[in-house]
Symmetry: C2
Subunit: 397 residues, 2 copies
């Protein structure tokens, strides 16, 4: 594989796009819409004015408002779970392989909604609508920066609930999300237990962020905090801390992958065959060179402060936030299907097992399906097809 | 546990000291000595003048020079594997639990030698003697900085071989090392197959650094390279890049640990009970606060450039370096006892299994003993006692 090709693929991996054929794509064009709340008061007690989040839908809501499935997204993700905005888009949304007419998340049966989170990283993507540190504070006319309130997954879920209400959704057949989306999924089930029939956490974070994850997220934030261009979050309209974001993305990429993947994709090849890293500090291994380029490209797409806010939301994750863990878990009434990835080195399958034990002990119906492979955490995006029929059946139970 | 205590323990973990009672300590005081080579020419073809490495010994060499065991050290380590330099030392060397009279590495039977590597990180430790980027280049009278030649584990082993020759050692009962020391162990077996009877790689890196490890090491180097005070390695006599080194140590600490350890040591406790990280960016979780302090303290002890050189040596690791992997492994004649840690998230036990398969297939006698626990990679230091009797017996086979 030539380096150019590989770079394209790695870039795709980082941005979470699945390369799949047109034939596989959800077959209606997707329209991105905006949901607005005049104010929203966070769990932490701060009021944000003029909150906007983007969303998209696939399929049709039934008259009773009971056939909906909500899909919250992962750390670097967006609402774009399936289909294309335009026929010329190079690739459809990240879970297109399981969303569409006749597919496990069958758009002939279900009305599927996915929304951009608060503090979404992709502030420069014209298809993304979010409210976060890069938004203009109506009180000052300037970007919030680090004065934006710290938000939790429960806050994201609350804005998603308001969106669902506005669409006439009364019951959710399921909430299904990957990674950070799995945490919002469990939060949905704990915050709105009468509304959520089923929870499908994929590459799940369990019912709270582990101490190890808390510190891992700390290491993702550090390169930004240490980049002089971050300037305490006051960089809008100036040079942005892209080096810090790139280093952060490198750590995120590594945490999202596995040694099996690295071996197959790169092995010990040099970046240039005749330039041995033994001979000069200017020489590098192929994996270093490719990830350097891919993360430098990725860094230009993401907002540094939004990455910090999203990381903090992940650190703060515990179902129902201000309750004890036991109280939070007790609120969950949904049937739960855990879909971890065997080779996950970020959200270990042990996290699912611990959450399953708690839920089983209190009488929830719980199922478990482990994705096979050596792609690491990202198998939750790329290998989700393995779980397709299990998901289809789970939705009818 | 109070934060002060925990800080002390974490600091100890990072510097690799085992807290153990005086009663357990190798019972003779240890003397640190210096071995000098007028010149050494690296595998990369560069000649270094006036090479010095520190070493220490436990036990006595027999007349035939055939009862020696060599112990190369791990990434942040030193030659100090056992005993104390002075009775008042707070703790003995890192493997003191298995080295001493009557212990598995029995100093009544064996003559044990351990040496500081080239480019050792601990340039500020008066007990460490090394030659690396912080050393004075005799040609300029100034520190080498990044003009020091890139060195490999094979170079470290060659200097260790010269030391052994100078001591009258003709055969090695075993070479035994942890982590980076395991890589030197395998390199010893490949470079000097007629001399090395047994290899005991602990928390082993297999027979070459995996692509995933190569990139992990890249992420450890990045915080230093991005610290403006690093100044392309020219910081001696100026302000040092301690922030970069601290971030690097944080990544190293996390890679060396496991979520089970983090859960037990910290859980989701806040750094201060009344300061919820939901409320302010100034608030933090306990694990963040403790590791921040511990790594800031650690950063003052290590030389940034030496960390880069040690990381590059790790990236370049493949047994016998300039051979193909198969040619390098074929050179090994030693019996090999692999001692991985079950919960290792840095040098995965799969690396040992792959190396075992290659060695078994070519007829080497191979054994495998897995350390149990949830301490991660560092179980290779703290839980080595589990393997004590297996090691004792292996040395007689």
């Amino acid at each position: 594989m030539r380096t150019g090709n590989r770079l394209a693929i790695i870039t795709a991996l980082i941005v979470g796009i699945i390369w799949s054929s047109l034939a596989w794509s959800y077959d209606e064009l997707v329209e991105k819409k905006t949901f607005t709340m005049p104010t929203y008061t966070t769990i932490g007690g701060k009021t944000i004015k003029n909150v906007k989040i983007g969303y998209e839908t696939y399929g049709r809501l039934n008259a009773a408002g009971t056939n909906a499935i909500f899909i919250p997204h992962y750390f670097t993700g967006t609402s774009h779970a399936a289909g294309k905005y335009a026929a010329t888009d190079p690739a459809p949304g990240y879970w297109d392989s399981i969303i569409g007419a006749g597919k496990p998340l069958d758009t002939d049966k279900y009305f599927i909604v996915s929304a951009d989170t608060l503090v979404n990283l992709n502030t420069k993507d014209p298809h993304v609508v979010t409210t976060g540190p890069a938004s203009i504070d109506p009180d000052t006319g300037k970007p919030y920066g680090m004065t934006f309130p710290i938000v939790t997954f429960r806050d994201m879920v609350n804005t998603q609930k308001a969106l669902c209400d506005s669409l006439g959704i009364h019951r959710l057949k399921a909430v299904m999300g990957a990674s950070g989306g799995s945490m919002q999924t469990m939060e949905w089930a704990a915050s709105y237990p009468e509304m959520v029939e089923r929870a499908i956490p994929v590459i799940p974070g369990g019912v709270e962020a582990s101490a190890y994850l808390v510190e891992t997220l700390n290491t993702w934030m550090a390169p930004i905090l240490n980049d002089p261009k971050w300037n305490k979050g006051d960089y809008y309209g100036k040079e942005e801390p892209v080096q810090g974001v790139a280093e952060s993305l490198k750590l995120i990429t590594m945490a999202s992958r596995h040694y099996g993947w690295a071996e197959k994709a790169f092995g010990r090849k040099f970046a240039a065959p005749d330039k041995n890293p033994l001979d000069s500090w200017d020489n590098a291994f192929a994996i270093e060179s490719v990830l350097d380029k891919a993360t430098a490209a990725g860094a230009k797409k993401y907002d540094a402060n939004s990455l910090l806010y999203t990381a903090r939301a992940n650190q703060l994750y515990r179902v129902h936030q201000d309750a004890t863990l036991e109280e939070g878990v007790k609120r969950i009434k949904a049937k739960v299907l855990f879909i971890p990835a065997k080779s996950d080195l970020l959200l270990f399958s042990d996290y699912s097992k611990k959450a399953m034990e708690m839920l089983s002990a209190q009488g929830n119906k719980v199922e478990y399906f482990e994705l096979q492979g050596d792609g690491g955490h990202l198998d939750g995006l790329f290998q989700i097809g393995q779980a397709g029929e299990v998901i289809r059946e789970f939705l009818t139970k």
